[in-house]
């Protein structure tokens, strides 16, 4: 599958991207097996092509192990593609790594922090890595944390004393503080209570509206995807099986398999042949 569309306002472009983990080693070399013949080879992404337009909220919907996080790590310059190219605002993630890094930030399902440090200390550190300094930085950190519902008296206490939901909000603050032009959200609201989830979703919409940011969000939360995303790509087994708006995707399956008024979950099941909750055992590919 090779992308052939043309848009002048492209934020992210994947063109024939493949990524595998593992491959032949040890015994496989002895038996002269190729990468493909090796049982250890896990193909996380398989010839993936799509584009995300500027100022768009683009969703990647897929089960665990479908390759969503690998896709985010490739954009984040943490992994290198085996085949194909990825560009972020025209910058190749391999050749223009430094420039891409300045354009992006990410929130993943794990709120990764120095747990002994307070939210303020953690955010000062991460913001300074992105070149933010000055007295207004402390003010901004305080402001964003309060906006996200972190009580002011908790801003100076170690993160290890906070709930997972609160830690996740601090992770979201970390990404927003660097005002990324492209924000990568990898299941950002997993584990959050309904109110916190709504807060975060409102913040994402705010960021897009007021800051002209582009958002790529990986999720297996159908409601979240439907509420936030302008367009959605459905991913299964390392491949993009469909892309479009929610209505376009529903239209694709309407009338098939007796689906007259399909939900997004129906769409997913119809296009992939299984539900989102099925776990796929793909070692090393979250």
């Amino acid at each position: 599958m090779t992308y052939t569309g043309q848009h002048n306002d492209v934020a992210v472009r994947f063109d024939g991207v493949s990524k595998s983990f593992g491959g032949k080693r040890g015994r496989d070399r002895w038996f002269r097996r190729t990468n493909e013949q090796s049982a250890k080879l896990v193909r996380a992404l398989n010839d993936v092509s799509f584009e995300v337009r500027k100022n768009e909220i683009f969703g990647i919907l897929g089960a665990n192990g479908s390759g969503k996080s690998t896709l985010v790590r490739l954009i984040s310059t943490l992994l290198i593609t085996d085949e194909g190219t990825i560009t972020v605002f025209g910058n190749d993630v391999r050749d223009d790594e430094a420039e891409v890094k300045r354009l992006i930030n990410r929130v993943s399902v794990e709120a990764s922090f120095f747990k002994k440090l307070s939210p303020m200390e953690n955010l000062l550190y991460s913001s300074r890595l992105y070149g933010r300094t000055g007295s207004e930085l402390r003010r901004d950190i305080k402001q964003i944390l309060v906006d996200l519902g972190i009580p002011e008296e908790r801003i100076g206490v170690p993160l290890e004393t906070m709930s997972r939901g609160m830690q996740q909000k601090v992770a979201i603050a970390r990404a927003f503080l660097t005002s990324p032009v492209l924000l990568l959200l990898d299941e950002p609201t997993t584990g959050l209570d309904p109110r916190s989830k709504k807060d975060v979703q409102r913040f994402v919409l705010d960021l897009r509206e007021k800051h002209d940011a582009t958002v790529l969000i990986c999720s297996h939360d159908m409601d979240e995807a439907e509420r936030l995303c302008d367009r959605i790509a459905i991913m299964d087994n390392g491949r993009i099986v469909a892309t479009g708006t929610v209505d376009e995707l529903k239209d694709q399956v309407r009338g098939t398999q007796g689906l007259l008024d399909p939900t997004l979950e129906d769409v997913y099941m119809a296009l992939t042949g299984h539900g989102l909750v099925e776990e796929k055992l793909m070692a090393g590919v979250a």
Binding site: K101, K116, R128, G131, I144, S179
Partner: protein, 196 residues
């Protein structure tokens, strides 16, 4: 929801002095972060300082128990333990660069930040030197409290600074080699770093 980011990234100038300023700020971020961590782990800092002081003092008391004029011997032993303690501290701080972040789970965020690896290592090394010097000064004061006869009035401070600089440079090099090991072999690499 009133916070709206106002600083657009990606607009970073590529002029050399701008790059230098940006990387210097980033290097200082590592220094500042490590001082925050030191502050949060103050109890352990005290515990390790007591351990180092006890080791140094035990060596010096052995020197003091020798026959004859032991002042010169004690001074040699004091300098030896201080320099060793300093270099050990520099090595461990640099060597833990990757292991600590893996343990906390922050390594991916540091790696995807717009900061060069050289800046990362420079920031960590700068912290290691500042921390090592402060710790050695405190250790010296502890040793001097037990051995008031120690005098640095005739010390060759320039020579000492040169030795410290050469030692720091070498041990930072070893530390960087040690720091990379956990990236190559997550668990065993960390053990290998400790063995170094």
């Amino acid at each position: 929801m009133s916070y709206v980011p106002t600083v657009a990234p990606g607009t970073g100038s590529r002029a050399p002095h701008r790059i230098l300023a940006r990387e210097s700020k980033a290097a200082m971020a590592f220094v500042e972060r490590n001082f925050y961590l030191t502050k949060r782990y103050w109890g352990w800092e005290v515990a390790f300082l007591v351990y180092t002081a006890a080791s140094s003092l035990s060596i010096m008391f052995i020197g003091a128990s020798q026959d004859g004029d032991t002042n010169r011997l004690i001074l040699f032993l004091a300098i030896g333990t201080l320099v060793w303690g300093y270099l050990n501290s520099v090595f461990m701080n640099v060597a833990e660069t990757v292991a600590w972040e893996r343990w906390e789970g922050t390594i991916e965020y540091t790696m995807m930040a717009p900061v060069s690896r050289v800046t990362h290592m420079f920031g960590m090394s700068l912290f290691a030197i500042i921390y090592g010097l402060i710790r050695s000064t405190v250790l010296f004061l502890v040793l001097a409290a037990f051995f008031p006869e120690i005098s640095l009035s005739e010390a060759n401070l320039t020579g000492a600074a040169l030795v410290i600089a050469a030692g720091s440079f070498s041990f930072i090099g070893f530390g960087i080699v040690g720091a990379v090991l956990p990236l190559l072999f997550p668990e065993k690499g960390e053990q290998m770093t400790l063995m170094m």
